[in-house]
Amino acid sequence: MISGWRIWCVMAGAIVVLALGQAHAASAIKIGVAGPFTGDQGAIGEQGKNGAIIAVEEWNAKGGVLGKKIEVVWGDDQHDPKQAVAVANKFLNEGVAGVIGHYNSSCSIPASTIYHDGKVVQISWGSTNPQLTDRGLWNVFRTIGRDDQQGSVAAAFIAKKLKKTKVVVLHDKTTAGQGQADEVVKALDKDKIKPVYYGAITQGEKDYRPVLTAVKQKNPEALYYGGYYPEAILLTKQMRELGMKAVFVSSDGVWQQEYIDIAGKAAEGAFITFTPDQTKIKEAQGVIKKHKEKFGSDVGAYTVYSYVAANMLLDAIAATKSTDGPKLANHIRKTKWKTALGPIQFDKKGDVLVSPFVVWEVRDGKFVEVR
């Protein structure tokens, strides 16, 4: 049993630490950045992180915002909705002025309600599910496009360009994955194509052979998968191992170099929908160069989206000279932004007005835009 006075010492020490922590916080402006920083989607989380880091460093180099340094509070949600809620509460407790995040729609959506109640602005750097903004919450924005657009691009490609009629649709039961699968089914229906198989797999599992064997029976010409790259890698590999020749089509969560590197030869000929080539946007050259210098690697799929989101938030704080949620949201919605992705404007739901999706092909170990 610890003796009495020792307990008092520990408690006194804890109180001192807490007090010091609070004192430090008062002199900085905090923003929350959330994403799947650890776990199997860590590669994507890192992109969100790096984009925000570059933006915050640029601002801090110019003296911060409203005369104070900008401090980032990191929120690792590990693409788990329950963690996302914990992260959201943490952000509110820390008094963040706004949130750049999350990535997964399954995380952004539950977190958005908490941010809404806490009157905090949220700009997602990668959530594509329509529901995020369709609910009309005033505090929610996203710099990336929506899955109803992405789904129709994929479906049109399958039906008209590839001219495949026997299509299998799979998803991973997540908000984004299932949403994408359903959008594709809806869009294929317009071309009078009904999937020969519609099913789901579980994230985190390794063996999809039973499902793929069942799917193979239907002799599909194309397989559309709504989900993220860890499962896509396994699906693609196992499809080829089972001798399936169907074309693999998927969405932005699979547009990752990891997909090509780990799936190897099996990934050749896959078609993944994503936004147009960022390296061709002249406004993006600055951040692309900075990223190469600072991290020694090329920007990933979402790095610039996160960079743009962080800049918008910090710009709004500077312009409105406040950290008041509704004021910031108003400013973000009304401004005609000039960003690293080109000109951006938000509609009243918080979606960008123009957000094209195009099809990329995996060719010779690289993503190549399909013309």
């Binding site: 776990g39 199997d40 860590g42 579980t202 039973p210 069942a214 860890p230």
Partner: protein, 300 residues
Amino acid sequence: MLVQQLINGLTLGSVYALIALGYTMVYGIIELINFAHGEIYMLGAYMGIISFSFLTTLHLTSPTSGVTFLIMMIVAVLFCGACGVTMERVAYRPLRGASRLSPLISALGVSIFLQNFVMLAQGPRDKGFPHLFSGGGIDFPGGRISAIQIFIMATSVIMMVGLQLLVHGTKIGKAMRATAQDKQMASLVGIDVDRVISVTFLIGSALAAVAGVMVGMYYGLINFFIGYIAGIKAFTAAVLGGIGNIPGAMLGGLLLGLIEALGAGYISSEYKDVFAFAILVVVLIFRPSGLLGKDISGRV
């Protein structure tokens, strides 16, 4: 399709069986569910990759030779065996006199520690596992059995037969059976119970290591979290077959793999886990000790 699903199921089941054996043997001997066992399997997979990288980058052996593979297995087995024995010594032996709950919590602690250790040491991302078996296989009218699937099933069978021979044909096996039956009596007749327990952990961990390396090759992808899911499935398999019963773990593992494959293929891929657990519940209702377990309610 049925034949193909059976092949898928048996391959999956063989892996579950190897891991389940570790759970069942440890439970049989010290009545502890070793929750950290799944992590031993994960460590085996990582040791496989590490030894492969070591060998190939130093050009000691070629990436596709059988010798490379053999060395990978041996390194993984030795490492995991050592981990298992250390784990027992550090986390479970000191708590042997305490209530049943203490070693259980200790096991959870070891599990969390190992997961996070590997995550910090190796990174949170998936790691690609080398391809040692090219796409070879045998095609036949019902489907296709790939080289790696044959290999996994064959290795598992050899391991399980070996285990049975060890447990029923050797002195240490007899000592293990005696200790499992009654620890106190076993020590009274002169069996070194501590040593027997260490050997049990060693063997269980070695089997898990083999499973880890094979699974790494089969899926081509590993991460620090694979032990969690595999551990739950294997534990279910062990309970299904009768926890504490070695043939039971083998049967449970194969059955679980088959149920998952057939359920996913024929009924619904979304509810596949539901079938596996539903069947477990049904089996336990009618045979509470599992399929091959003995009814222990009459023990005096």
